[in-house]
């Protein structure tokens, strides 16, 4: 039986609970979980102040409620699963190394920031800085898969090095900013400055994009790696047209060797 938390008292200020990760909960009894300290602003309170707790010693965690103020869930998790029914706040799955997170609702900023591996799926919309590098860090996500069914905010995949981000809805500005590797699939396009200052990596857009002036059109092609990517995404019910795609290279300002593919 999974550990199930149901919100009973909504937090007034952000609630930080980085221990809400399967690695930690797998070894804890019901009483221990209930007594774990969360930070409600500066106040340190037991988890049971905010949640009804069910279950114990499980690698599966289920959360229920409007949890947009709940931060750092699944921080650095290595295994197991987290399922959220409702909304969830910032830093979900940040530094994650493995396992799976599913959110049936909307999520905040910094989802999967600097993650090393694992899978995150957000069924609703997400905020900005998905899979990004925290301020000042050289690299964002290093591997893994993030899928946002809805829209996403600014700086999606900023400085990512490897791994894949799929966004079903539109993203805002600076998608793939300073990207160093990996793949971003944009099913509904993006606002402006997509791929700005890219060094390497690939952005695929199924909708037309407003290109940065420092990208150069190269050719129209059916890239060889797309079947591979399709196979990678197929188990998640995500399909990908085989093309052809218009290939742009940039960002020449760096000068970088990134690629943006726009479905022709």
């Amino acid at each position: 039986m999974p550990v199930t938390l149901r919100l009973k008292r909504p937090p007034i200020v952000p609630l930080e609970a980085e221990f809400l990760s399967p690695d930690v909960l797998a070894t804890l009894s019901h009483a221990e979980i209930s007594a774990m300290i969360v930070h409600h602003g500066k106040r340190r309170l037991p988890l049971s102040e905010f949640f009804d707790v069910e279950g114990e010693r499980s690698e599966d965690l289920v959360l229920h409620g409007e949890l947009h103020k709940l931060r750092w869930v699944g921080r650095g998790m290595r295994r197991g699963s987290i399922t959220v029914h409702g909304t969830i706040g910032m830093h979900l799955g940040a530094y994650m190394r493995g396992g799976r997170i599913d959110v049936h609702g909307n999520a905040g900023d910094w989802i999967g920031a600097e993650m090393k591996d694992g899978t995150i799926r957000i069924r609703g919309n997400a905020g900005g800085q998905i899979g990004a590098a925290y301020r000042g860090a050289m690299s964002g996500m290093r591997n893994g898969l993030i899928m946002i069914d809805g829209s996403a905010g600014l700086e999606v995949g900023m400085r990512m090095r490897r791994g894949t981000i799929v966004v079903g809805g539109p993203t805002r500005d600076f998608t793939g900013l300073q990207m160093k590797g990996g793949t971003i699939l944009l099913r509904s396009g993006a606002e402006i400055r997509t791929g700005a200052w890219m060094q390497r990596g690939t952005i695929i857009s199924l909708k037309p994009l407003q290109m940065m002036p420092t990208f150069t059109y190269s050719t129209t092609t059916t890239p060889g790696f797309l079947p591979l990517l399709s196979r990678h995404l197929a188990p998640h019910g995500i399909t990908l047209p085989t093309g052809p795609y218009q290939l742009y290279r940039g960002d020449r300002a760096v000068p970088g060797k990134g690629e943006i593919l726009v479905l022709a």
């Binding site: 930080e16 500066k42 830093h91 301020r135 700005a196 002036p213 420092t214 150069t216 000068p255």
Partner: protein, 324 residues
């Protein structure tokens, strides 16, 4: 990856033969900038003063500052980031298409002329204002200009610095950095400083309703912030320290009148180039200084139970297990 390459204003005064103002209107907002620091000064290295210097203004509209400029480049609104990125490519002799340059509102001749002048300068300096740093793209617009300046050093000496607004914004930034390692957007709720602009920056905290009280010194967010932020300030207990009645003090639960800094209260202000300037009060004020009020509040708080569990004896307990 770029960085920040800057200098004090005296260096500009003595050496800068090429000055770009980007997204700022010094003629009206920093009226003494031209005469004190930049284009009008004569120096050992630039004995003819204005004649030895070239000034470029980049802005979305022709402000009063354009009259002072040798070259005015009118960039299309929202195209600053694109223009700077084009410049970054052009200085490295990377090709950019005519039509892409035209999108920024400038033509190839103007942009290439700018690049030629930048590379030909002995000491170039770029000042950027809120027209750059507060428009769409925000911190990335500033980062773009700072990166361009850093990269220009492959060809000649180049620096860049922000034109900060009024008040001692720079001072707050400098002190927060030495005490916490971070300039702004800091949270102490876990007992040690954490930084994340967008998460902890004041405007974002207020807009999301993430705080249950506000304490405001030397600022008037009620006049400048978006409506949801102002609404939240009115909802929660807000305390304002200010010599004057302000938009914020009107919606605050408590307004403590304090002595005006620099006029009646001593201290140090940091100039936009981060040089410290002593403030010597000219007038006496019947009101306490901000410092005095904060000190007394601190003393009162010290009498209350401490809000964090006291650190244990082991050095490892000085540290948090994880820094978030």
């Amino acid at each position: 990856m770029g960085g920040k390459v800057t200098c004090t204003l005296g260096e500009v005064k003595q050496r800068a033969d090429f000055i770009i103002y980007w997204g700022g209107n010094p003629a009206e907002c920093h009226p003494r900038h031209f005469t004190k620091y930049t284009i009008m000064q004569k120096s050992k290295f630039l004995p003819r003063g204005r004649k030895d210097r070239t000034m470029v203004l980049v802005d979305i509209r022709e402000t009063k500052s354009a009259k002072a400029a040798d070259i005015f480049l009118q960039v299309r609104p929202g195209k600053d980031f694109e223009l700077i990125t084009i410049l970054r490519a052009l200085i490295k002799d990377q090709p950019v298409r005519d039509e892409d340059i035209a999108e920024t509102g400038l033509d190839r001749a103007a942009v290439e002329d700018l690049v030629r002048r930048m590379k030909g300068a002995k000491f170039g300096c770029m000042f950027f204002g809120m027209g750059l740093s507060m428009t769409r793209g925000k911190h990335m617009n500033s980062a773009a200009l700072l990166t361009l300046a850093a990269e220009m050093n492959a060809f000649t000496k180049f620096v860049a610095m922000p034109m900060r607004g009024h008040g001692n914004v720079t001072g707050a930034d400098v002190i927060m950095r030495w005490q916490t390692g971070y300039p702004f957007g800091i949270s102490f709720n876990r007992g040690y400083p954490r930084y994340n602009p967008g998460e902890f920056s004041t405007v974002d905290v207020l807009v999301r309703g993430d705080c249950d009280a506000a304490f405001i010194i030397g600022a008037d967010p009620g006049a400048t912030m978006p409506q949801p932020a102002i609404d939240h300030l009115a909802r929660i207990p807000t305390i304002v320290l200010d010599p004057h009645i302000t938009h914020t003090s009107r919606l605050a639960r408590v307004h403590i009148t304090t002595a005006p800094q620099g006029i009646s209260a001593p201290g140090t202000a940091y100039r936009m180039d981060e040089l410290p300037m002593p403030l010597s009060p000219a007038l006496k004020s019947p009101y306490p200084t901000d410092e005095e009020v904060v000190r007394r509040i601190n003393e009162a708080i010290a009498k209350k139970p401490f809000w964090l569990p006291d650190g244990g004896p082991s050095p490892h307990q000085w540290t948090s297990q994880v820094n978030l």
